[in-house]
């Protein structure tokens, strides 16, 4: 059900042609100007920009409202498409982009290569088992990406908004209400319905500021620490890619091992019966950050009066009152 990719496969998956919505920071101040970046390439590097006429939908969801973003707010720089926006009032916000489908023709060898590189392993297995590795392909593909970010301290319910994209990740809990050590359930929907038995890749970006500096645990349970004082550590980032498979309800549970930025990606590729096509794919990604979790104020024993102080004071008070009333009598 779950394993951590390593070695050659890790490198291959990292060099896929995904689309991600990324932000410099996922914890924003209310009513400030911010930027969402649309990466097209890998999580780490954007290889090209996305033309605005390819964007079928660009939405911001917050405070219970879905706002269609004006295309003039987009601009391109360094192979990255940027969206400038005003953060709005406090709450947990969602941004999403969905692109129009496009067709691509690939020779058999290139298609197999892409399946391997992008981790579409089920289709590759099918082609191997059905002697179809020599078949050329014409694939229709479209991409649907989301990011969830937190504005101010107050949480809102917008994080679970379904944007009605053909394929999309929808968390079942607010990522900004949880803390490391929690298992975050995320549902994958295809056509609005749970997509079962689908491979999902989960990555985690650890930045220097989030590092304890004394070693950390990986999702596979191995521990290691890093040398201090090196240039490499100063802007140290790395990503372990975890491979999960959705259950019967289309749900994966991500073991949130540490604070930082988390991202999910999947490609749902199926055979197509449409004339001129052999395959059709929908790509989905989701990015969000995990901090310390929402700070709850629990009135009993955690903040406020500690229970033992309360009970000792109560005991003394009742005994005192008892003697006073008894003497009075």
């Amino acid at each position: 059900m779950k394993r951590v990719l390593s070695g050659a496969l890790l490198v291959l998956v990292l060099s896929s042609h995904d689309m991600f919505l990324k932000m410099d920071g996922y914890f924003l101040r209310p009513n400030t100007e911010n930027t969402i970046k649309l990466f097209n390439g890998t999580y780490e590097t954007s290889e090209n920009v996305i033309a605005r006429n390819r964007m079928l939908d660009v939405s911001l969801v917050g405070n219970g409202k879905r706002i269609v973003v004006d295309s003039t707010q987009w601009y391109e720089r360094d192979n990255i498409t940027h969206l400038r926006f005003q953060s709005g009032s406090e709450g947990t916000w969602v941004a999403g982009v969905s692109t129009k489908p496009r067709n691509i023709a690939l020779a058999a060898k290139d298609f197999n290569h892409y399946l391997e590189h992008d981790g579409v392993l089920d289709m590759l297995t099918w082609r191997t088992e059905n002697n179809a590795l020599e078949d050329d392909a014409v694939e229709r593909y479209s991409k649907h990406v989301k990011t969830i970010f937190q504005v101010g301290d107050a949480l809102s319910m917008d994080w679970k908004t379904v944007l009605d994209y053909p394929l999309e990740f929808v968390p079942l809990e607010n990522p900004y209400d949880i803390h490391p050590g929690h298992a975050l359930p995320v549902q994958l929907l295809f056509g609005g319905k749970p997509l079962a038995n689908q491979l999902v890749y989960v990555g985690h970006e650890v930045t220097a500021s989030e590092h304890s500096g004394h070693g950390h645990s990986h999702a596979d349970g191995t521990d290691h620490s890093h040398e201090h004082g090196t240039t490499e550590e100063a802007d140290h980032q790395h990503a372990d890619i975890e491979q999960l498979r959705t259950d019967d309800h289309g749900i994966i549970r991500i073991a949130i091992a540490a604070k930082g930025i988390w991202y999910l990606r999947t490609i749902y590729l199926v055979h197509s019966q449409e004339e001129g096509l052999t395959h059709e794919s929908n790509w989905a990604t989701l990015t969000f950050a995990v901090g310390d979790g929402h700070v709850h104020e629990h009135s009993h024993g955690e903040s406020g009066i500690p229970s033992y102080v309360y009970w000792i004071a109560s005991l003394l008070l009742v005994i005192g009152l008892f003697f006073w009333f008894n003497r009075k009598k």
């Binding site: 359930p185 979790g293 709850h296 009135s299 406020g304 229970s307 005991l315 009742v318 009152l321 008892f322």
Partner: protein, 225 residues
């Protein structure tokens, strides 16, 4: 002369001390994360037992009830009241300010102590409002407080209804566990001469504690402490 009653009083009040050693804390989140429905049941029971405001209100409610049937009747009404708001508000995601709800719960404790001391007759020259109705109404408020508490935990929406119900069942079990020794002590004390002083002391304490809880929560609401 007072050795026996005082010993019982000390034991009674120290029971929650042992219970609160477990604390209702952020550790509960970990219990919920790692456990199933039983974890919700456990946290619900723990919150009820260590959540002194709920227990103090119930002490006030049962203080002058003598028959077992009466105790069952009032506890059932309180349970129905808090179950409605606990399950309903949590399931619908209705959130209230915890300090304001806890302030009202503190006032419910004050109310019950005041009523038990005959405050309505002495101060307002009127008879006390219908106790069953008041217990039900305050039960609704206590349920909101419990719901606020439950919603402060990170819960996945999988089996959400079962989780809420498990928490509620835990609350009921915690309620019974806390009330059994309290009922025992009150009934034992009735046979002793010092019962009148004991009754006044406990109910005066409820007035003071209820007022203290309400003021403390309001100060927190206005961020004054």
């Amino acid at each position: 002369m007072f050795k026996k009653p005082i010993c019982i009083l000390v034991v009674l009040l120290l029971i929650p001390l042992w219970l609160s050693a477990h604390g209702v804390s952020a550790g509960d989140q970990q219990i919920l994360d790692q456990g199933g429905l039983l974890a919700y049941l456990w946290v619900g029971a723990k919150h009820m037992v260590t959540g002194y405001d709920h227990i103090l209100f119930l002490v006030g409610v049962i203080f002058f009830l003598k028959g077992f049937n009466d105790i069952i009747k009032f506890i059932t009404v309180f349970t129905i009241g808090h179950s409605i708001t606990l399950i309903g508000a949590t399931f619908l995601g209705i959130q209230t300010n915890e300090h304001l709800v806890d302030a009202v719960i503190g006032l419910s404790v004050l109310y019950k102590g005041f009523e038990n001391l005959g405050g309505f007759e002495r101060v307002f020259k009127i008879s006390s409002p219908n106790l069953l109705g008041m217990v039900f109404s305050f039960g609704l408020i206590h349920g909101l407080g419990l719901s606020t508490r439950l919603q402060s935990f990170a819960m996945s929406e999988t089996n959400i209804f079962a989780k809420i119900v498990s928490f509620n069942v835990g609350v009921e079990l915690g309620q019974v566990a806390a009330l059994v020794p309290i009922i025992f002590v009150i009934n034992r004390w009735r046979a002793w001469k010092s019962y009148d002083a004991f009754s006044k002391a406990v109910n005066s304490y409820l007035v003071i504690a209820g007022m203290g809880l309400a003021v403390f929560q309001l100060l927190q609401f206005y961020s004054l402490i």
